[in-house]
Symmetry: C2
Subunit: 248 residues, 2 copies
């Protein structure tokens, strides 16, 4: 009888002090920290699989990872030992035993990201880590009109590069801005999958619409062009958060 | 003709890296940083007056200060120069010329504080700087019942010490808990003025009610006792924020 199981974990991290999710030869990464802690807890080298490779500075409240380990105590004990070992900027909010075939990236049906903007004259020091400051007033109605053009299955080559291969078609299921206070705006977007820097490039472009520097119809033209040089530069990483990943 | 005016500023700060609002012989304080920056901007030593002396670790989005300076350029220029000089964890969100007799503490009609709690099994790393984590489920209804006992003018000696003198009577105008999400609770309290550590001691006591360790009626007994040893220890500083100060 083997005690090896496959585990699925939902993790939250503050991306500020990471070079990104994916492990690198040098520098602090989310994957690297988690693998280091798993090794301390289980005494074996464990490779984890993640749902999405968030960039340097990008946060997550719903990143999903999976890994196989042999553990002779309870699931609660593993969860507690894991969180006690992790640094102060990563936490496992949920841990469960899963199907041996579960893969967080390949089995994902969709991902949801949020991008937070504070739209007022001066930045907010209490929100500076998680919110992008835009000084000039944004036209949220125009930004939402432009967001609707992105809904559905499109070739998003103008908004990002594929992490691998050449397929730049993605299916955007939901996209829109909502005001969470007088000065706080949140962009929520759900798609089957995203290209590299796609959310930040979309946000950067929609903010140009909000500032009146691009018309709503320009976004349609940019999308149709299938040319990355046509979109605006990506909005800064620190406003972005991977909120959830959906599975069957 | 003199160009000296009295200025009133609303300031926001992240209390994490301060020893508190009030200047001290050593250590980083909000008042100390502001006075240092005002000196750099105006080339003269300026003493500022503040509305409330927040403790080490306590945040503010609506602290009010006032000071006299001679400034030969526009108000906008002063505001811009000031914010450009301040460190990343303090910002002046509003600056205006005010009455020469304006004093942020003595003229204040009331102050409003908020205390943020996250009530779930594991802490949230994205909220760890501004929110107190309570693991066991809180009974918000009981906490609100107990909050109502504090409304009105009472001797609050059981909940704090006077900053000066012996008067421990304060008038609580509003106090209550609201849920901002499934797991996030915010306590808002407005009073004419507060005793030293009064909000945190009230919150610490109300959390004991929420955990079922104190009955609602115990809070009435504690209040009536006028004895600081009867209340619970103050809740941690990092959950507290000075939200606003009201003037005639």
């Amino acid at each position: 009888m083997t005690l090896e199981h496959r585990y699925r974990a939902t993790i939250e991290y503050d991306g500020t002090d990471f070079l990104g999710y994916q492990i690198q030869a040098e520098g602090r990464t989310v994957q690297g920290e988690i693998e280091r802690c798993l090794k301390r807890v289980t005494q074996t080298s464990v490779r984890i699989d993640g749902a999405g490779r968030t960039d340097a500075g990008v946060h997550a409240i719903g990143q999903v990872i999976a890994f196989n380990v042999t553990w002779r105590h309870t699931l609660k004990d593993l969860h507690r030992a894991f969180n006690a070992t992790l640094p102060h900027d990563i936490i496992i909010s949920d841990l469960r035993i899963t199907d041996p075939a579960f893969h967080p990236r390949f089995k994902a049906l969709s991902r949801t990201y949020q991008y937070h903007v504070i739209n007022q004259r001066w930045p907010s020091v209490l929100q500076r880590r998680y919110t992008y400051h835009v000084q000039k007033e944004l036209d949220v109605t125009a930004m939402n009109e432009a967001s609707r053009l992105l809904l559905g299955s499109h070739n998003f080559a103008s908004f990002g590069k594929p992490p691998q291969g050449h397929n730049t078609v993605r299916n955007v299921i939901e996209a829109g801005w909502s005001a969470t206070s007088d000065t706080q705006l949140t962009f929520s977007i759900t798609a089957n999958a995203f290209l590299y820097r796609m959310v930040r490039t979309i946000v950067g472009t929609l903010i140009q619409v909000g500032l009146g520097r691009l018309a709503v119809s320009d976004v349609k033209d940019i999308l149709d062009a299938q040319d990355l040089t046509r979109s605006a530069p990506p909005a800064p990483a620190h406003g972005l958060c991977l909120v959830s990943v959906a599975y069957p």
